[in-house]
């Protein structure tokens, strides 16, 4: 197995006036194709951990390796390139562009790769079929239900076939049944060799993942892979 993500001694301290220590001394290795749930109470540092894994934030200490490459010395444009090519994101708030069609929202996932518009749309249509929204292509994003919106967001995240999918409370705004569908969809991505790391409060969602990591006060206190 190859290593998809590797955190080594990662800490995050926010600057004053808050001066909060969000993460301390995190060591975490995620193998390619794994599905990992990160759980913990509010304020445990889950979102910060996901932001660091997604290169949206730099750690105060320690290193992040993506696909074996150290990201600490990378410039902002280099990190942008990593996000454009290797990482996919799904958010609790979906972040769809409501004035665009479903198809164009998904195609936006390839926008910063410099792919031609026609190719982007063709691949977006395929990704929408993959998440079961083949018939909704022409609708405006604003016209969809919550579950459908999250499916569009997942299609947008996977349209570029990223090695790693990072999901921040993907079922947080959905009812239980819809949440279960979305969780199944994300867990199913592992079959296509996509590494999935998601944050959740929900025990059922966590249980659907192959591995569970529990955070408390910025530290890993339990990891199902270690049998702790």
């Amino acid at each position: 197995m190859t290593t998809a993500l590797e955190l080594c001694g990662v800490g995050k301290v926010y600057p004053p006036p808050t001066a909060v220590t969000a993460l301390a001394d995190i060591d975490l290795v995620v193998e390619a194709g794994e599905t990992v749930a990160i759980t913990g109470a509010s304020g445990a540092g889950k979102s910060t951990l996901l932001s660091i894994l997604g290169t949206l934030e730099r750690p105060s200490s320690g290193t992040l390796r993506i696909d074996g490459v150290d990201t600490s010395a990378m410039s902002d444009p280099q990190l942008s390139a990593v996000r454009a090519t290797s990482l996919g994101f799904v958010f609790q708030q979906f972040f769809l562009l409501d004035h665009l069609s479903v198809l164009d929202n998904v195609a936006t996932g390839l926008l910063y790769r410099g792919v031609q518009a026609a190719t982007r749309r063709a691949r977006a249509a395929a990704a929408l079929r993959q998440v079961g929204l083949g018939e909704r292509i022409g609708h405006r994003a604003g016209q969809l239900s919550g579950g459908e919106r999250q499916r569009v967001a997942i299609a947008r995240a996977v349209v570029g076939r990223p090695a790693v999918l990072l999901a921040d409370e993907p079922t947080g705004n959905l009812d239980t049944a819809t949440g279960a569908e979305i969780t199944g969809l994300l867990a199913g991505l592992a079959d296509e060799r996509t590494t999935v790391v998601l944050i959740t409060h929900n025990a059922d969602v966590a249980a659907a993942m192959g591995r569970q990591v529990h955070l408390r006060d910025g530290r890993i206190v339990a990891d199902s892979r270690d049998g702790v």
């Binding site: 934030e57 390139a81 454009a84 910063y112």
Partner: protein
């Protein structure tokens, strides 16, 4: 592999961003449109008439006039009979012509008009060479010629014809001059360097003498000098015209009038242009304002784009293009409005419709500059937003 954004995609991103907030975008563009319309129409209206004045100035710079000073009772004393031939003898003088006042004679449309309604039209005796020397133009009909020395015919100045309501000379037209009817044989175009002729009815010296008993020399002499010796000629004119009483003679250079008018126009253009500039500044601040609001509202979108791989400069470019496109749309609309305003103004003033190319080019340039400057700060703000912070807000 680097993250990249195609130029065509960046432009369509900006247009989509504007279309998503249509009313807001339209109103901000309207601000720019009004400012640019003001600038274009001011340039259009002023520049064309200024160019016209400058042309005249070039033609009229060597024109000089010699006039008799008025006496204490308000009556003009004629210049000596010798003045005209003497002046013609000054070597750099190319041509000379003269007019004489015909006092106490009124012009009316017909005898039915009461004698007190003179409309302020004066009667002048003129030489046939008047039009050529002044580079004037006969608008309709013809000017006084040799036959006019014996027959009661008159040529009207532009304003005089307008006041008398004489539009064309297709049918024989007569006006009532000092107790008898004169046939109108021609109408002059306006003469900027000799506005006194616009409000005059011109008759020949011969008729002035035979019919109205006018005696003495002319009251005003117009002359053209060699352009290189205008000042030298001017300095000897009064002594030449009236060697005995040279203090009673006024020498003028009518083109000074044009210079003053150009200066006045320039001052007005400057004033209106700076008002247009202020309007543009206000419109640009308006655009900057709505772009800053837009950046605040779209933190989530900015965070998402960064997560999808957008670089800081891609985000900055998106917002900068939005504000530039907004201003360009406003500028284009403003140019159309400005050209229409210029055309309407020109039509009302009776001038040919002429918009100098510099006006729309400068207008669009100013709009683009305003849009780009207005977009810089919001774009920088959007680009500097840390992606994790942008995504956390909602």
């Amino acid at each position: 592999m680097a993250s990249r954004l195609r130029v065509s995609d960046a432009v369509s991103l900006a247009t989509v961003g504007l279309r998503a907030r249509r009313i807001r975008a339209t109103l901000s563009a309207l601000g720019i449109a009004i400012a640019i319309a003001a600038v274009v129409s001011v340039l259009g209206i002023a520049e064309s008439s200024k160019a016209d004045l400058l042309d005249q100035l070039g033609e009229q710079g060597n024109l000089l006039t010699v006039a008799s000073a008025q006496t204490v009772n308000g009556r003009a004393r004629p210049l000596p009979e010798t003045a005209e031939p003497m002046i013609a003898r000054i070597p750099p003088v190319r041509s000379v012509t003269a007019v004489g006042f015909v006092e106490d004679v009124t012009v009316r449309r017909s005898a039915a008009i009461p004698a007190v309604k003179t409309s302020g039209i004066s009667v002048l005796a003129a030489r046939p060479s008047l039009v050529d020397t002044l580079s004037g133009r006969v608008l309709r009909g013809r000017f006084l010629d040799a036959t006019a020395e014996r027959y009661p015919v008159t040529v009207l100045g532009y304003e005089a014809a307008r006041v008398l309501g004489i539009a064309d000379l297709a049918d024989p037209t007569q006006v009532f001059v000092g107790g008898r009817y004169f046939t109108v044989v021609g109408v002059l175009a306006p003469i900027a360097v000799a506005p006194e002729l616009d409000m005059a009815a011109l008759i020949s010296f011969g008729v002035a003498s035979d019919v109205f008993g006018r005696t003495g020399g002319p009251n005003r002499i117009y002359l053209r000098a060699d352009p290189d010796h205008v000042v030298a000629v001017a300095s000897v004119l009064s002594a030449t015209a009236s060697p005995a009483r040279d203090g009673d003679v006024e020498v003028r250079r009518p083109s000074d009038l044009l210079v003053a008018r150009i200066a006045a126009k320039g001052a007005f253009v400057g004033l209106f242009l700076s008002l247009g500039g202020i309007a543009l500044l206000i419109a640009a601040v308006g655009i900057a304002n709505i772009m800053v609001i837009s950046v605040l509202e779209r933190r989530g979108e900015i965070g998402l784009r960064r997560a999808l791989g957008a670089r800081r400069r891609h985000v900055a470019l998106q917002f900068l293009l939005e504000s530039t496109l907004l201003a360009a749309a406003g500028g284009t609309l403003g140019i159309v409005l400005g050209v229409v305003a210029t055309a309407v103004a020109a039509r009302l003033a009776g001038n040919p419709v002429e918009v100098p190319l510099t006006a729309p080019v400068a207008g669009l340039g100013a709009a683009l500059l305003a849009g780009t400057l207005a977009g810089m700060y919001p774009a920088t703000r959007a680009a500097r937003l840390p992606p994790a912070d942008a995504l956390r807000t909602l």
